[in-house]
Symmetry: C2
Subunit: 316 residues, 2 copies
């Protein structure tokens, strides 16, 4: 099997961690770095992790895609709020037979990428990871690291398990990152949205941690009702989530340590919210199908208000 | 026509204003005063108002209902969160042929009063007034003062226009307070709830003034959708609000000066919210009728969360 080269677009808590682990496993990785460029160029990357701390004193770091080689796998680990940059970033760094792997939350983010690099050159991945960027080139990995991988096909038709999925999976497993292969990326996306929509949304609106949301019977019920609405939209696309998925998500959240969602961290840091990818696009998908999801609709309306007031920005 | 004596339970921004204006018009008024008792006893009441400032150096002030005479009209101008005190306060101060007039917002607050003083001894009044208590015995009246009066009958059956409504109205008009007589108190309550539910609720949840809610297209639409849900509940009780009522409320709010709702003022002051009267009881009324009002339901769930966290209290 030929070895594959990787590019990491967005060397933050997610991209920095996975890229560093791949490189540590002997794989060739090229990092696009933004603010940290000078430091990472000089000092490399540092990962603190319960699975073992390590430093990579030397990495291929770039602050300009024109300097980067074309790679086999281009991992996009930006916030979706920066996806408007991708038409400039992607074309030159994906090999003709390469693929773009979007490690991002939300729905309907792939179609625009397919417009840039072409159909059949896009994969989606859902990360189940807790990590933070704590300093320049310094990432603190807290827990989990699994990725759920799927091929993107036009209109989210199920893409099956491809050879390149297996190849990428084998690279990640070499880096001790558990990978689950999904025959149906849209199914996987809805499954994760069942958690992401209620907790990301309510944590921002109510200024609350997950444990606070779960401790109050009213908001606990609200979270469950929002989950049901997500399940209903998924069903309208013939993605029937397992009967017990909501119960599992609630139990799982009960057992989590008090947790600030990524949207709440963005909100607190005055960054724009990943509102369209995580809430707006799923809502639009419901409207397209004529599915009534009033509580998701209200969540979106409230988040748009807060996002507009806080940042003065709009997601692009 | 005999003259009527009035008792004011709750000498705050609303009760203090109306009671002072009645006394200034030559009517006998007895004020139940809480924190301000010593000052009001000594110095009376001071009203600043665009309709004319005035002071009442001497008022009948009490800090104990046992000292108060029985009156013809007992005006309850407490927050509904204090209504649990009324079984102790009311019985001795209402004349046998007297009446209790509730100047409070919300729905289904009268039944408990009828249990205390008897059916046919309860009226409801909706105040359209902007006023604040700014110091001990000192009330600043900002704008409006109109009252909408109606008889309470069991189950909110329309009570028609009674003689005592006309008499009370004449007293208020003597005090230059515009009064509108309502043949159907429940109709009037729903009409006011169309405004109160969206703006009180959203102002607390989104930490927003009315003008901010109206300036953002998402929350403006949300306010309108909440209004539609209120109208739907009202319809299920055969109270059909005028076609253009929602539009009038929206236009009216557009033209208002930036305004913090009373629920938001309570929230900011760490007082318990009038959540059950204004949102919970209308929601319960919808559930009773099998009417689906998901956005009011979500508003209630969010407010319960915020109220419980902020005050550690529950409305009684």
């Amino acid at each position: 099997m030929a070895t594959r080269s990787y590019a990491i677009i967005g060397t933050g808590a997610v991209g920095g961690f996975y890229g560093a682990r791949l490189q540590k496993a002997g794989i060739e990785v090229h990092f696009l770095v933004n603010h940290d460029y000078e430091i990472v160029k000089k000092q490399g990357l540092r990962i603190d992790s319960p699975e073992g701390n390590f430093t990579l004193p030397q990495v291929y770091a770039y602050n300009d895609v024109d300097q980067m080689p074309a790679c086999d796998v281009v991992i996009v680990a930006l916030k979706t709020t920066h996806n408007h940059l991708l038409p400039e970033l992607l074309p030159s760094i994906v090999k003709p037979d390469g693929v773009v792997l979007l490690l991002q939350n939300g729905l309907n983010i792939e179609p625009k990428i397919a417009e840039i690099v072409g159909q059949n050159r896009v994969m989606g991945g859902l990360c189940f990871i807790c990590s933070n960027k704590v300093g320049y080139g310094h990432i603190q990995h807290i827990d989990y690291s699994a990725i759920n991988l799927g091929e993107y096909q036009d209109q989210y038709q199920p893409g099956g398990i491809s050879d390149r999925m297996r190849e990428i999976s084998s690279d990640f497993q070499q880096a001790q990152i558990p990978v689950e292969l999904s025959e149906d990326l849209m199914f996987s996306r809805w499954k994760k949205l069942v958690w992401n929509i209620p907790y990301n949304g309510l944590s921002v609106i109510l200024d609350a941690r997950t444990d606070e949301i779960m401790a109050n019977p009213e908001t606990r019920l609200l979270a469950e009702e929002l989950m049901r609405e997500v399940v209903t939209i998924a069903s309208s696309y013939n993605r029937h989530l397992p009967e017990d998925h909501i119960k599992i998500m609630l139990d799982h959240t009960d057992k989590m340590k008090p947790y600030l969602t990524s949207m709440k961290l963005d909100y607190n840091a005055h960054r724009p919210l990943e509102l369209e990818a995580i809430v707006g696009n799923p809502l639009q998908a419901a409207i397209t199908q004529g599915v009534n999801v009033p509580k998701i609709s209200m969540l979106y309306q409230q988040l748009k208000f807060l996002d507009a007031r806080r940042t003065g920005n709009r997601e692009q």
